[in-house]
């Protein structure tokens, strides 16, 4: 089972990686802002799968951190883009 969970984490990370490269190319700032959003969901999914694979459930706390800070980072990015 840990092997399957690692594989699932790898797959989701791959999706995040491909998505990130697409988003960072833009063209609009709103596109690029989604990079933070993507890590807010994909990053959490990778973390939780890793937590289950290794049995270290304290990693779930890190998931809460990512959710809070990805939202903060996304708002900060929009605030920056807004000032043009």
């Amino acid at each position: 089972m840990p092997e399957f969970l690692f594989a699932a984490a790898l797959f989701v990370l791959l999706m995040v990686a491909v998505g990130l490269l697409r988003i960072l190319r833009g063209p609009t700032p709103a596109d690029r802002m989604m990079a933070a959003q993507l890590l807010g969901t994909g990053g959490i999914a990778v973390l939780l799968l890793l937590a289950a694979a290794t049995g270290e459930w304290t990693m779930a706390d890190m998931g809460i951190f990512l959710a809070l800070l990805a939202a903060f980072a996304a708002v900060a990015l929009m605030a920056g883009a807004d000032r043009s």
Partner: protein
Amino acid sequence: MTLLRDLFSIVAICAGGFFFLAGTVGLLRFPDMLTRLHALTKADNLGLGLIVLGLLPRVGSVLGGVKLVAVWALALLASACVSQVAARMGRLRDEP
């Protein structure tokens, strides 16, 4: 019983992975910002929810399960709000 539990986890996590795939395909294929935003927030959050569902029977404690669901709920609410703001920002720029 363990087999059934593992089967449940595998099915739910695979379904979650599928939605992440769908979200990424949407990001790559959709033509404009609003549809890409739609692909990202809808599909990925559903994918995360399914993965959380698949992991629930493996946590081993009720409190741990509550925490997992809380993580998902938090991610869901935050990304719903953020995508609203982003969509408005994108529209303001597209329509001079």
